[in-house]
């Protein structure tokens, strides 16, 4: 456990020591800021506005834009840069296991991702105070939103870590995970045409926007949790296989 935490700390240190880390936080806050402006406008114009999380996370595109843009940037460093710099060799000749390395890099990325969202929580709480309409932001809705950010974020981050393990180039890693991320997101929109049949139901299960709509209403669906946990685990498993395979080359 000590070694694992040492590795996670190193990952976080690397993120905060780099300009890219701050750029990610800035992009997240900037886009979230635009989203909030939209919310404020809706709150002013609608007579019976929806709760804030639903406007922000379920209806809007801002959350997805942040997610799809920042997760590749957060994760592109994890393996690609270590391999490009050669520090990967130094790492893998210490008595740490491959799984330990994969999980630590993933955990580091996840913690950084969640930290980059942290200021937004404060802003939402502030908004609740200002509107003086507590029903617009109930604590359960907020918990659902946080679970959703963590859940869906973990899936996109696992894709990013996997993409980073494939190459030495951080740019290629970022582009690969961007493409995979967009692919997963657009799957959500194919459901509307085929609603009702088996394929439609399957697409409904795979729909990440649908998951987020539930989370934003404060509904934490076990199936969504299992889905994101399994997909994350699957990509981490692939990452470990890539690392192992690369040793044999």
């Amino acid at each position: 456990m000590g070694v694992f935490l040492t590795l996670v700390r190193r990952e976080l240190g690397a993120a905060f020591n780099s300009l890219i880390g701050y750029v990610v936080v800035a992009i997240t806050q900037l886009l979230a800021g635009f989203g909030l402006m939209g919310i404020v406008q809706r709150l002013n114009s609608d007579r019976t506005p929806s709760p804030i999380p639903e406007i922000f996370f379920a209806d809007g595109i801002v959350f997805w834009l942040i997610l799809i843009l920042t997760t590749p940037v957060i994760t592109m460093r994890t393996f690609a840069s270590e391999r490009a710099l050669g520090t990967y060799e130094a790492l893998m000749t210490t008595p740490v296991g491959e799984w330990q390395v994969v999980l630590a890099k993933y955990a580091g990325a996840l913690v950084f991702f969640l930290l980059s969202w942290a200021p937004l929580v404060g802003v939402l709480v502030l908004l609740r105070q200002l509107t003086q309409q507590p029903q617009l932001l109930d604590p359960w809705g907020m918990c659902g939103v946080l679970t959703g950010i963590a859940c869906i974020g973990s899936t996109f981050l696992s894709i990013g870590v996997f993409a980073s393990s494939l190459t030495r180039s951080q740019i290629i890693a970022a582009m690969t995970s961007l493409l995979l991320g967009i692919g997963l997101w657009t799957l959500s929109f194919s459901q509307t045409d085929t609603t009702g049949d088996r394929l439609g139901r399957l697409m409904d299960h795979l729909s990440v926007t649908r998951h987020m709509q539930d989370f934003a209403r404060g509904v934490v669906d076990g199936r969504a949790l299992v889905f994101h946990f399994s997909v994350s685990l699957f990509f981490l498993f692939l990452t470990q296989r890539v690392i192992e395979m690369r040793r044999w080359r």
Binding site: G2, N17, E89, A90, R247, R249
Partner: protein, 321 residues
């Protein structure tokens, strides 16, 4: 493992990449406490061998044991006993020296207290006290190399493997890093690779010459030199006419071959090869004294490791070991 177990045992090691054999059935043993130089031109297979030894990559065939542990089947045992500095000394340049060494010590399984102790010790040992709070990216290459060495040492490994530890250093840095490596050799077994021959002469007790994936020679440095300089050629610079010199040396029974070349001034450069490996220097001096010539040089040139290396690799190209 008992002290009698060799530190490194390599048997019939082969590593093939697609379309290329990097290491071709090499075998060697390194005893405890030895400082061994791995010598070879670029692409000879040095780095590949070291990567296999440090269990970073598996071999295609053959066995490697470090302190009795198999690198393939017991990699963690091996890694605990090895301090490995990869080629180009990769470091996390965004970290501070002390934090980096602490991080590496923790990865290598040292507890918090023990890693603090060891980091203090290696900072002292590698002369990093003045820069311990500096960011690695801002250090000179010489200091970075020291950080790499400190990293290799931090968990007190039995064996230190250094891949080209002095590459790219200026002469001052080179001297201090070499001195450090020599110092390490007193307490550890050291295997270092280089393509700079003088480095092996200065730091190593034994040398393995690698060329195109094969070992061409494995010997003590002195033994290699004597093996290759058996002809015992003597060179003298004497102020005399070529004719007089030829007259004096030609008929001596001890001399097998005589070459005379004009040198600067009135001097001639005389190269004499003995018939049976004997030392011709007293004889030359005797002739000079008898003829009352002026003598400004009398040497038996030592074949440098460089010459030996060239000879060996040319033989290697000829198709045999």
């Amino acid at each position: 493992m008992s002290d009698a177990t060799p530190m490194i045992e390599v048997h019939d090691l082969t590593k093939r990449y697609p379309g290329r054999t990097a290491v071709d059935g090499i075998s060697f043993t390194v005893g405890r406490g030895e400082v061994v130089g791995f010598l070879g031109p670029n692409g000879a297979g040095k780095s590949t061998t070291m990567r296999i030894l440090s269990s970073f990559m598996p071999a295609t065939s053959g066995t490697v044991r470090i302190a009795g542990f198999d690198v393939f089947h017991q990699p963690d045992e091996v890694r605990r006993r090895i301090g490995y500095m990869p080629e180009n000394n990769p470091l996390h340049v965004d970290m501070r020296v002390r934090d980096y060494l602490k991080f590496r010590a923790r990865l290598k399984g040292l507890g918090i207290g023990r890693s603090r102790q060891r980091v203090d010790r290696v900072i002292e040992q590698c002369g990093l006290r003045d820069v311990e709070r500096r960011i690695i990216g801002q250090l000179s290459k010489g200091y970075r190399q020291r950080v790499g060495l400190a990293d290799a040492l931090v968990h007190e490994p039995d064996l230190i493997i250094l891949d080209e530890p002095t590459i790219g250093l200026d002469p001052h840095q080179l001297r201090s890093v070499r001195a450090l490596i020599k110092e390490l050799g007193r307490a550890h077994t050291v295997l270092l690779s280089t393509h700079i021959l003088s480095e092996v002469e200065v730091t190593c007790s034994r040398v393995l010459v690698l060329h195109q994936g094969r070992i061409l020679a494995a010997d003590r440095v002195e033994d290699l030199e004597s093996r290759f300089s058996q002809d015992g050629r003597v060179v003298a610079e004497i102020a005399a006419t070529p004719e007089a010199l030829r007259e004096a040396f030609r008929d001596l029974p001890e001399v097998a071959r005589l070459e005379i070349q004009a040198a600067a001034g009135d001097f001639q450069r005389v190269a004499l090869t003995p018939r049976a490996g004997e030392d011709l220097r007293p004889l030359v001096f005797e002739q000079v004294r008898q003829h009352d010539w002026a003598l400004r040089e009398l040497t038996r040139p030592r074949l440098s490791l460089e010459d030996i290396f060239i000879q060996l690799t040319q033989r290697g190209k000829g198709g045999g070991n």
